[in-house]
Point group: C2
């Protein structure tokens, strides 16, 4: 790993022997605090937010490098909540959330990384991909839209693409929010039971749910092929929302501390400036 990992329930995917089934979605160790209200931010999360806000300002001032955060999950896995809890409090001028839905006809007329590249982070920015180029080795694979050979090519294309971004100063962190099938059932039911949440429910989610095991296999394979110390995948146990958010924040802040962004030295003499 490029930086010292903080102690969290997150599992860094290393090597071809990684097994997703070995990661417990309920795990919250070594976090000690377990609030009664699971949606409540812990004091530690608030401290991390404050630090993230400072580091982001330094990154923006430096204006040479950037941070890309890739978020993937099964439906109801908590991507929206995780983004909100990570970034609320950070200056929105230095942050961009790119959400990738089903590609448009024009996007399909290009290679699968074309629309992704267009959203790559600017200097000084933190960009979050809510879904990403990994959908092209997940949903397409599960539904047989690509064959094994194409899928392997895609892994290689993805690794080369991420290397390109890293070569020009982008740090990459990838998080898979790992929930259990039972937890998904609970969350889908909650969206049906609460009229204020009905709009978040999509009947198609039930069809995709039937492919649960295939998706787990596809995620496992993608992470095995596309995780490295430079552009790591982390599996985040995500049944407990507070632990999920805390783990992500710890890792993001640790990565930025390691980047140690520095405002540029002025190329003028501050004492020689005369304001009239």
């Amino acid at each position: 790993m490029k930086f010292k990992l903080p102690k969290t329930p997150a599992v860094y995917v290393k090597g071809k022997s990684f097994r997703l089934a070995d990661v417990d979605p309920d795990d919250t160790k070594p976090f000690a605090h377990h609030p009664d209200d699971r949606d409540e931010a812990t004091p530690r999360l608030l401290a991390l937010r404050q630090r993230l806000s400072e580091l982001q300002e330094l990154l923006y001032a430096e204006h040479k490098r950037s941070l890309l955060i890739v978020l993937q999950a099964m439906d109801t896995g908590g991507k929206d909540g995780a983004i909100e809890n990570l970034l609320t409090g950070v200056n929105p001028a230095g942050v961009l959330v790119a959400s990738f839905k089903a590609p448009s006809k024009e996007e399909l007329d290009h290679d699968f990384l074309w629309r992704i590249h267009a959203q790559a982070p600017k200097h000084g920015h933190i960009t979050v991909f809510n879904r990403s180029h990994y959908e092209d080795v997940l949903i397409t694979r599960v539904h047989g839209l690509i064959d094994e050979k194409t899928c392997k090519q895609h892994y290689e294309d993805i690794n080369n693409f991420e290397q390109l971004l890293m070569n020009s100063g982008t740090r990459i962190l990838k998080f898979f929010l790992h929930i259990s099938k039972d937890e998904q059932a609970k969350r889908l039911q909650a969206r049906l039971d609460d009229p204020a949440k009905n709009w978040k429910f999509d009947p198609n989610d039930l069809k995709e749910r039937a492919y649960w095991d295939d998706y787990q296999d596809a995620y496992e394979a993608a992470m095995r092929h596309c995780s490295s110390g430079d552009a790591p995948w982390f599996v985040i146990p995500a049944n407990e929302k507070w632990a999920r958010d805390l783990a992500i924040s710890e890792i993001v802040v640790a990565a930025l501390e390691d980047m140690d962004p520095q405002p540029p030295k002025p190329d003028f003499d501050p004492k020689a400036q005369v304001i009239e």
Copy 2:
């Protein structure tokens, strides 16, 4: 006006007789509270943030309309701080800040609204323009890069462009952060005196400062020509940061309350869904 204006120090620009010199940059009336620490958020600002966060989620859920906030100011006028204080706490997935700098060569090969149009807000989004298409009737006019006739055409093009956005569901609010020339001197000096703020100082700002009166004239003319009840310009007295931020938040929240976004009704029967 399209909605009932809350009581703030902001001045709504109405008609050709508007005079910028009549607006006092120090004005904080009718706000009663004046915190000792001017950067400190007032309890009212915190309440407005909370409400803005709720309204933004509803706008996102509705996914039919959007809000465009245009921010203009003289250098050090406080655009960055205003954006941070308005939007911190709002889910960054529904917000985009577009910063317009000097146009690139490719952008100059198109009409002046081409690059602006590309950043127009998506359905469900709040987009903030940090500088905007108005630069093309400000800096260009002050430095004689366009003549009077072209400037008048630009006003018309701008009004037609904003009408197009409104016709497809975008509400537009435009804010000029109004500081005094003395206040700018103080803020520039502060950037020189504090090494941690040196990176925010640009010696070119001193050159532009010499054109202060020309800029005030250009702002006044632009606001006279391009303010209406549908797409209003507001002059925000901005010497006092806390009053500036509170005024903007009050107006933004009032506009969103007036829009009254509604999550869509489900097109399925929540009770008939079976999760297996």
